[in-house]
Amino acid sequence: MSDMVKNTGLFAIVGVLILLTGFLQSWNAAMLILNMGLISAIMALGVNLQWGFAGLFNIGVMGFVALGGLATVLISMPPTTEAWAAGGLRVLLALVLGAATIVAAVLLYRAMNAGWLRTLAMIVLLVAGFFIYRAVLDPGVGAIEAIDPAATGYLGGLGLPVLLAWPVGGLFAAGAAWLIGKTALGLRSDYLAIATLGIAEIIIAVMKNEDWLSRGVKNVIGVPRPVPFEIDLQNDPAFVDRVAGLGFDPVEASTIYVKLLYAGLFLVVLLVLLWLAQKALDSPWGRMLRAIRDNEVAAEAMGKDVKKRHLQVFILGSAICGIAGAMMTTLDGQLTPSSYQPLRFTFLIWVMVIVGGSGNNFGAVLGGFLIWFLWVQVEPMGRLLMDLITSGMADGYWLKTHLLESAAHMRLLTMGVVLLLVLRFSPRGLIPEK
C-alpha cells in the first residue's frame, strides 16, 4: 500500500510542477510540456518494453521515431499527381527491383555451398542489382524532384485522415525493427547497440536526402491536423461567446483549447498502451521475457525460444516508438528531418526510462514526464542561475557574456548528472520493478 501512496505522490509532484508552470509562466507553456510529456511517456514505454522487460539495448530510438514522422507525411499529405505521373511508377519499380536483388542474394546464399564461388556470385549479383536499381531509380527521382520544387517536388502522401498515420507509423517502425532484429538480435548487447545506432543514422540520412520521399531538408510543412485550427475557432462566434461567457480571452482560449484536444487524444493512446503493457507484463509471456532477461541460458534450457521472444519484443517496442513519432509530427504539423538528433531522441528517452525505473511501466511514464519537464525548464533555470552568478560582475566583462550565452548548454550537462546520480544512488529508478 505504501508503494501505491509513494507512486501516486510522485505523479502528483509532476502534476504540480506542470501546474506551477501554468501559474508562473503561461498556460500555453504548461500545455506544451504536458503534450510533449505524453509523447515522451509513450516513447519511454516502448524503450522500457525492450530494455526493462527483455534487456535489449536499443539506441536507435530516433530512427523509429523518425519513421513514424515519415508515416504521417505519407498518409496524410495530399498526393502530388503530376509527380506520380512523371516518375512515381518508375520509383516504385526501382524499389521493387532493389528489394528483389536483396531477396535474390539471400536465396543465393542459402542455395549455394560455402566457398569462393558463392562469394563471387553474391558480389556479382549485388553489384549488378545495385546498378540496375540506380539506372531505373535516378531518372524517376529527377523527374519527380523537378515538379514545382519550391512547393512539392515529392510524391506526396495518400491524403487520408491523419489519425490513421499513428498506427501506420507503428507499422513502419515495426517493419524496420523486424529487418534489424532478424540481422542484429543474435549479436551481443554492445553490438546490437552499435547496430541500432547505425540504423537510426541511416534512416535519418535517407529522410534528409531522398527528396522525392520526404522533401529532405526542405521539410514538409502544413501536415493536416486532427483538431480545428486556432484561427477558425477565433472566427467562430459560438466558440467566442462560450469562452467569453467563462471570462477568457478568445485568442488565448483557442490556443489552449486546441492543445487540450491534442492532450486528450494523446492521453487515450497512452492509457491504451499502458494498459496493454501492464497486461503483457503480468502475462506468462511477460514472465517468460523477464526469465530470459535474468538468465538467458537457463531459459533456453527450459525450452524457451529466446531469439523469437527477443524479436517479438523488439518489434513491439519499436512500434510504440513509431506511434509516438507519428503523434509528435502531427503535433508539430511539420516534418523536419534535420531536427532529429540522437541526443534528444535516443539518449534522452533512455534517461527517462532509467530515471523512472526500468522494468516498471508506470516508472517509464513518470520518467517521461519528469525528464521532459526538466529538459524544458533547465534552460530558464540555467539562465536564472547564471544571472545570479554573474550579478556581481561588471557589464561587458567577457566571462559574464560567455556565461550568459552558454546557459543554453546547461541541458545536456544536467541530464548527464541526473542520469549518473540515479544510476549510482538509486539504480532501480524512482518506481522500481516489483
Binding site: L343, F347, V351
Partner: protein, 336 residues
C-alpha cells in the same frame, strides 16, 4: 599519360584523403579498443573525449597565437597538443574516480557501464558546448599545402593536379609515431605487458601480482593521449565542431569492431578499411573512368555510387557484414 592522370586524380581524391581519414579513425578506434580490452565495456563517451581534448588544444593554441608563438610552417596546435593531452588525462582520471570505479568494484555488468558511459557522454558534451560553444572553430595556421595542385602540374606537366595538404602529412606522420610508441609500450615494457596480461585473462593477471588499479589508470592515460591526438588531427584536417565528434562515434566503433574489439592491430586495420570504403563509395568516379576508358565509353553521369551523406551507411553496412560472417572481427578480437 591518361593512366598517370587517372592515378593522380585517384590519389588526390581517394588515396590521400583516405589515408589521412583512416589514420584518424585508427587512432580513435585504438582508444575504444583499449577501453574495451581492459575495462570491458564499449565507451560511448569516446567521441566526446576526443572533442574535449581537441577543445583544450584549441584554447591553448589560441592563447599561444595571441602571444605570437608559432612553429613556422607547422600548425601551432602541435605545440598545444601536450597540454590538451594533459587536460584530457586529468578529465578521464577524475571521471574514473568519480564514476567508473564504483561500478568496477561492484563488478557491474558491462551493459550497465555502457549506460553509465552514456551519462558521461552527456556531461562531456555539455562541458564542451559550455566552454567553447557548438559552432565551428578554426585553429589551423602555418603552411596549407606541402604540394599544391598548381606546382604539381607545373612540375610534371600532367593535366591533373595533386594537392597534398600539410595537415594530411602531419596526420599520417603523427599517427605512425603514436602507433609505434603504443606498440613499443604494449610489447616491450613491463607496464604494457601487464596491461596485455590483464586484458587476456584478468584472474591470471591478478594472481601474478598485476595491480588492477594501476592497469586501469595507465589505460585511461593512454586513451586520453590517443583520443586527444585523434581529435586534434581530425580538427586540423577538417574543422573543430563538437557535434561532428559525436558523429564520429559510429565509424570509430565500426573500425574497432571490424578489426576485432580488443585487438590494437585490428583497430588500425579496421580504421583503414572503413575510411577507404567510405571514400571510394562516395567518390564521383567520372574523371578517373574518363581517363581510363576510350572516349566513346566515357560515362555521362558522375558515377558516384552513393551521395556523400550516406557515408554512415557505408561504415554501417561493412560493420554488419563483418558481424554476420566473422563476429570476432578481422583480427580475432574478444567475444565475451
Amino acid at each position: 599519360m591518361d593512366f598517370l592522370n587517372a592515378f593522380v586524380s585517384l590519389s588526390n581524391y581517394v588515396l590521400i584523403p583516405g589515408v589521412a581519414y583512416g589514420s584518424q579513425l585508427a587512432l580513435g578506434a585504438l582508444g575504444v579498443t583499449l577501453v574495451y580490452g581492459i575495462l570491458r565495456f564499449s565507451n560511448f563517451a569516446h567521441g566526446d573525449t576526443m572533442a574535449f581534448g581537441a577543445m583544450v588544444t584549441v584554447l591553448v593554441t589560441w592563447w599561444l597565437q595571441s602571444l605570437g608563438v608559432s612553429l613556422g610552417p607547422l600548425p601551432t596546435a602541435l605545440l598545444a597538443l601536450p597540454v590538451g593531452i594533459l587536460g584530457t588525462i586529468v578529465l578521464l582520471l577524475v571521471t574514473d574516480r568519480a564514476v567508473y570505479q564504483f561500478y568496477r568494484e561492484k563488478k557491474a555488468k558491462p551493459v550497465i557501464l555502457v549506460i553509465v558511459s552514456m551519462g558521461v557522454m552527456f556531461i562531456m558534451n555539455g562541458i564542451v558546448r559550455f566552454v567553447i560553444g557548438p559552432d565551428d572553430q578554426r585553429f589551423l595556421d602555418g603552411e596549407r599545402f606541402v604540394v599544391s595542385a598548381r606546382t604539381f602540374k607545373e612540375m610534371t606537366g600532367l593535366d591533373e593536379g595533386l594537392a597534398i595538404k600539410s595537415t594530411q602529412v602531419i596526420t599520417v606522420i603523427t599517427a605512425v609515431v603514436v602507433v609505434a610508441l603504443l606498440f613499443w609500450f604494449l610489447n616491450r615494457t613491463r607496464a604494457g605487458k601487464s596491461m596485455r596480461a590483464y586484458s587476456d585473462n584478468e584472474d591470471l593477471a591478478l594472481l601474478s601480482g598485476v595491480n588492477p588499479e594501476r592497469v586501469v589508470m595507465l589505460t585511461w592515460i593512454i586513451v586520453a593521449a590517443l583520443a586527444t591526438t585523434a581529435g586534434v588531427l581530425y580538427g586540423l584536417d577538417k574543422s573543430f565542431k563538437p557535434f561532428t565528434y559525436f558523429q564520429l562515434l559510429l565509424p570509430i566503433f565500426a573500425s574497432a569492431i571490424v578489426g576485432g574489439l580488443g585487438s590494437p592491430l585490428g583497430a588500425i586495420a579496421g580504421g583503414f578499411v572503413i575510411a577507404f570504403s567510405e571514400v571510394t563509395i562516395t567518390y564521383a568516379w567520372k574523371k578517373v573512368l574518363g581517363y581510363m576508358m576510350p572516349e566513346s565509353l566515357a560515362p555521362d553521369g558522375l558515377v558516384q555510387l552513393l551521395s556523400t551523406d550516406y557515408k554512415f551507411a557505408v561504415s554501417f553496412v561493412i560493420l554488419l557484414i563483418v558481424l554476420l560472417f566473422k563476429p570476432t572481427g578481422l583480427f580475432k578480437g574478444q567475444s565475451v
